[in-house]
């Protein structure tokens, strides 16, 4: 396209896994000193492509040119040597190490592991406004700071090409703005940034060029100036983008969940303090907050998973405070956990066993304390059909399903216990657009049926679209109540970081 060789040129990249074609004939040019976005649904093959470019996996076919020279990347060390650095979606940091240790790991030869390295980190941090302190423990850092450590790690190695995999998935709007500020500084220094995302508005605002990937192959490269997010979405999925917005209010007078003065002591400060709210039947209450401000603890306290929690929890008049988690579930709580791999599923168990999980005391799939396989499989088949779980069969291992299908199975299971309260923690995190629309549909359906829904999400559009009311949580306290009809993501973002007042 131009006279100068592009920073990265990919030609005909292909990668097959048993039974899946992850990448097929991928062609991308990333020009020097630009931000190049790569968009596509989850499972479209973006992550595989980036692992290939970072040398984690080897391609089956195709060529990679970096700065005009063809290279073969057999390991991350090779990629680093050629000036390619990567910031993974799931941060690759050792929590119990300091920032310094995390940064110098693997690059000890550059500046040692002592004071010279510390000076270099401070220098880079100051040069790009990253605000990173070398001697802090990573586990004490927030999500935004961890991401800046990841970026610093890459810069420390002298990378010329920086890959960011879904960098905004975990950030609030203000942090996203800061990140974009940082990226523009990198661009100004002549570095090339490859930015992977499925948030189209962000992509349109930051990228100089956008490549769309669908089903493992590049379908188009577009200029953001002449493109709308709707057009991008259609390129991505080949159909219209769904929206989370709900219909007319179904909120009733009946209080389903009553939480009063919930507290949870922590190491330095309380994890939860004086949290009180009601959720009525047919109402969706959204909880907005920066990760680590007590959302997870709130959910776990309501579920009875946190010893030491104080205060009262009543479900439709029944006092749950002294009950175990199982009794609470039996009282009518459905729970979509935040981390489906850790809490929602047994990855190496078949779907029908996962169906019984959490319902292991209930008929008809359990009789006289023994599991009735036949009934369980029949009912799992029903969930698979009703909730559109795409799977070869109910004997498939949960691990083999994509994130979206795993999540649909969990939603189906939790809705099958006749709950009156549904707790959904990040229900659409890491699922593709199709599954996201389906899950939104199920939450709306639950609301129509008169369930009370507690929705935790980092996706502010999702919160605003689905909720009847939004409470903001900050350092374990509810600090403001918002009407989703009135509030903008920016206002919510300010309240979440404690910058703005409550409406």
């Amino acid at each position: 396209m131009s006279d100068v060789a592009p920073a990265v040129r990919l030609r005909g990249i292909g990668k097959r896994f048993p039974g899946v074609i992850a990448n097929d004939d991928i062609n991308i040019d990333v020009a020097r000193g630009t931000i190049h976005a790569i968009v596509g649904e989850n499972g479209a093959g973006k992550s595989t492509l980036m692992k290939i470019l970072y040398g984690v996996q080897a391609p089956d076919s195709g060529t990679i040119d970096i700065a005009g020279t063809q290279v073969s990347l057999g390991s991350p060390a090779d990629a680093i040597k050629h000036g390619v650095g990567m910031v993974f979606q799931h941060f690759q940091l050792a929590d119990n190490f300091t920032v310094l240790e995390n940064v110098v790991l693997g690059a000890e030869k550059l500046h040692g592991i002592g004071s010279a390295a510390r000076e270099e980190i401070v220098r880079i941090s100051d040069a790009y406004g990253l605000g990173v302190e070398p001697d802090q423990l990573v586990e004490d850092l927030g999500v935004g700071a961890r991401q800046r450590v990841e970026i610093l790690k890459v810069l420390y190695r002298g990378a010329k090409v920086i890959i960011l995999d879904e960098p905004t998935a975990v950030l609030v709007p203000q942090e996203v703005d800061e990140l974009f500020g940082n990226l523009r500084e990198l661009k100004a220094e002549g570095l090339s940034v490859i930015f992977i995302s499925h948030k189209l508005d962000e992509v349109l605002s930051i990228a100089d060029e956008i490549t769309v990937i669908r089903r493992g192959t590049t379908v188009a490269t577009v200029d953001p100036a002449g493109t709308t997010s709707r057009e991008l979405a259609e390129l991505m999925v080949g159909s219209e983008l769904p929206s989370p917005s709900t219909e007319a209010s179904t909120v009733t007078e009946r209080v389903t969940l009553h939480v009063a003065d919930l507290g949870l002591p922590g190491e330095n400060r309380p994890l939860l303090e004086a949290v009180s709210f009601d959720i009525h039947a047919g109402e969706v209450l959204g909880i907005a907050g920066v990760e680590g401000n007590g959302q997870a603890e709130l959910v776990e306290a309501i579920m009875g998973m946190r010893p030491g929690a104080t205060g009262t929890v009543r479900l439709a008049g029944q006092d749950l405070t002294e009950l175990s988690t199982r009794k609470r579930r039996e009282a009518g709580i459905g729970y979509i956990p935040e981390d489906r791999h850790r809490h929602g599923l047994l990855l190496d168990a078949p779907l029908w066993e996962n169906r019984v999980l959490g319902h292991q005391t209930r008929k008809p799939w359990v009789r006289r304390g023994l599991i009735d396989r036949g009934a369980s499989r029949t009912d799992t088949q029903r969930i698979v059909e009703d909730y559109d779980v795409r799977t070869p069969g109910v004997d498939t291992l949960a691990r083999a399903l994509s994130g979206g299908n795993q999540q649909k199975l969990i939603v189906g299971r939790e809705m099958s216990g006749d709950p009156i309260l549904l707790i959904a923690a990040h229900p659409t995190r890491g699922v593709d657009v199709g599954a996201q629309a389906a899950i939104w549909g199920h939450i709306k359906e639950a609301r129509r049926q008169g369930l009370a829904v507690l929705l935790i999400s980092a996706d502010l559009d999702e919160l605003i679209g689905l909720s009847d009311r939004i409470e903001v949580i900050l350092r374990g306290r509810l600090v403001g109540s918002f009407d989703p009809g009135q509030v903008t993501p920016e206002q919510l973002g300010s309240a979440m970081t404690g910058a703005g007042g409550a409406a």
């Binding site: 992550s47 991350p76 050792a94 119990n96 190490f97 110098v104 000890e108």
Partner: protein, 407 residues
């Protein structure tokens, strides 16, 4: 902020040692159990402590690289034989080398199984413990039968490595110790043990403790090795050859455990004997866990176990009897702390236990021998039960890692 709260004062261990010695002095005066801190006890404690510490160091190397090594016991057993065979045929230092080598062979098996083939760490370790005992019995009957003083269950008498004695200083300190001055005598006893018949292997063990600290926490090799135990996928994403570091760590772990076994055969005793390790590999592992996967803590843990074991052997009944009182006082202090944290139920429970201990202390004069022998093991259990609340093991400890898991 956190960096400040976490960091202990520079010479905290020295202060802690002085406090412990002071407590023992008080206990001696109160209970009249004279052997609590005699130089003989200190010397015996050093001998008892070193194998536990070396085994724990082995565990530290391995677990810092994310491989649980329950096979330390088996590697120690291999070490005892290695010391016996090579020590008899080629001299004392060859025995040391043989112990290291045999232990490293155990480590090689464990590393191959867990790191290369992804076998569960516990299963591999337990298998090594079982195989090592059988292998050593077989080798002993093959190589020691017919030698002077050797047989199926023991080797001939072995040469010892040299030891250090500074005569005049030792005598002078001995006189101070005999004066029975509060605290001063105890201090003298400790110092005297350091300058009288101090085995070179004891010195070597402490050097290894320091070298371990320095290598793991002050070199880039150590940083990489620890990173494979904290977050192997992060390490791999930065180009660290994770499996190679794990493999090396387990090899070193085995060699150190082997040296622990060799120490038992050559210094703590004077020949290889069947069943010589007596579960010290497990206690070493416990000492390491008690020490929060740090060398300093590991030393404290080994000291505790070594000391209680020694008390059992020297006027055991009286000394352990005195220890009961110390534990009771500690328990009362702990109960007060829990009361301050408003954990009333827990505090009451601990107080009841303390009262029971005091009752026992008042009711008998000497703890019966069988109970004395189990003291180190009871202490292991108790200490771990209390300490495990605040421990932090390497984040990826015990997990099998496969290459290509990064990202």
């Amino acid at each position: 902020m956190s960096a400040v709260t976490r960091r202990l004062p520079r010479l905290w261990w020295l202060g802690a040692a002085v406090l412990v010695l002071l407590a023992i002095s008080v206990l001696r005066v109160v209970t009249g159990a004279e052997d609590l801190a005699s130089s003989g006890t200190v010397r015996a404690t050093l001998i008892a402590l070193v194998p536990i510490m070396l085994a724990g160091l082995g565990g530290l190397w391995s677990e810092r690289a994310g491989v649980v090594n329950i096979g330390l016991e088996g590697m120690m057993v291999l070490g005892t034989y290695g010391a016996g065979y090579f020590g008899y045929h080629y001299g004392a230092w060859a025995g040391v080398a043989g112990a290291l080598l045999m232990g490293a062979i155990g480590g090689l098996i464990h590393a191959t199984a867990t790191v290369v083939f992804g076998v569960d760490h516990i299963i591999s370790g337990v298998a090594i413990n079982i195989i090592a005992v059988g292998a050593v019995q077989y080798l002993a009957s093959l190589t020691f039968v017919g030698l002077p003083g050797g047989g199926q269950t023991q080797s001939p008498k072995l040469d010892n490595v040299g030891s250090i004695t500074i005569g005049p200083l030792s005598d002078a300190l001995g006189e101070v110790e005999d004066q029975n001055i509060f605290f001063v005598s105890e201090l003298a006893a400790v110092a005297r043990a350091m300058v009288t018949n101090l085995s070179l292997l004891v010195v070597l063990a402490f050097v290894l403790l320091f070298v371990t600290y320095w290598v793991l926490w002050r070199t880039s090799f150590g940083l990489r090795l620890r990173s494979t135990g904290e977050s192997p996928s992060a390490a791999e994403s930065l180009g660290v050859a994770v499996l190679r570091y794990k493999f090396v760590a387990v090899l070193i772990s085995g060699a150190l455990a082997g040296l622990a076994g060799g120490f038992l055969a050559m210094v703590a005793s004077s020949n290889y004997r069947d069943g010589q390790t007596g579960g010290r590999g497990y206690i070493g592992l416990a000492a390491m866990i008690f020490g929060n996967w740090r060398p300093g803590g590991l030393l404290a843990g080994s000291g505790l176990f070594g000391y209680t074991q020694t008390l059992g052997l020297r006027q055991g009944g009286t000394s352990v009897h005195a220890l009961l009182l110390a534990v009771a006082v500690l328990a009362i202090g702990l109960a007060g702390y829990q009361l301050w944290r408003k954990q009333v139920r827990l505090a009451v429970g601990i107080l009841v236990a303390a009262a029971a201990l005091i009752t026992v202390y008042a009711a008998i004069d000497v703890v019966p021998g069988d109970f004395v022998n189990i003291t180190p093991y009871v202490v292991t259990l108790l200490v771990l039960a209390f300490a495990s609340q605040r421990l932090r093991m390497p984040a990826a400890d015990g997990q099998v890692y496969r290459r290509g898991s990064a990202g």
